[in-house]
Symmetry: C2
Subunit: 118 residues, 2 copies
């Protein structure tokens, strides 16, 4: 009992009503972060941080995840030693109707971005 064995580390998330359009736009203006969102949407399921294929170092990815989380775009939670990422698609749709779908459509039609590692 000295240390909680399964700490179940928690992550802070903003209410979508608290995030501004500015925040979301800044978050989604970065190609790497749009890559995260795109791959997350494409997978159709939550993804651990390590599964993303993006041309940046792990520490940089951590930074991007933080920006997306604070902008309310993704939700993060721990599963054992890995951290999972989920799109807050429905909530985003309520807060900024049409925005995410438009971006995902545009990304899908324009694959030549920071999508792949190699």
């Amino acid at each position: 009992m000295t240390r909680p064995r399964t700490a179940a580390r928690t992550v802070e998330h903003p209410e979508l009503s608290e995030v501004s359009l500015q925040q979301v736009m800044e978050a989604l203006a970065d190609p790497v972060r749009r890559g995260v969102v795109s791959q997350l949407a494409g997978a159709g399921e939550d993804m651990s941080c390590g599964r993303f294929e993006l041309p940046v170092s792990p520490s940089t990815l951590t930074h991007h995840f933080g920006v997306l989380r604070e902008a309310g775009v993704i939700r993060q939670y721990y599963v054992g030693a890995t951290k999972m990422n989920a799109l807050r698609a429905e909530e985003m749709e309520e807060r900024f109707p049409g925005l995410l779908p438009a971006l995902l459509a545009a990304s899908a039609a324009e694959p030549a971005t920071a999508t792949a590692t190699a």
Copy 2:
């Protein structure tokens, strides 16, 4: 005839097929530039550069117009001594369906931006 009296100065515009999502997102990530787009859409008519109410200097505004133009978001043309600005809404809709409408809706619902001068 030494100098053409009505030079009809022209402005270069990209085809929308040539602009990338990245370019558009970078352009629209700035609050002042979204203010331009928003006011342009709200006015329902083309506006001269000087008519925008934004909290930046004229020279800064010129810069922003240039970014928006190169991103294909607006079209500019001279009318006498003034320069007019028009939203390329229809073309944008073809290239990035739903993007502009989503942003305009979000902007309208969130007036507390760099919308006004005072």
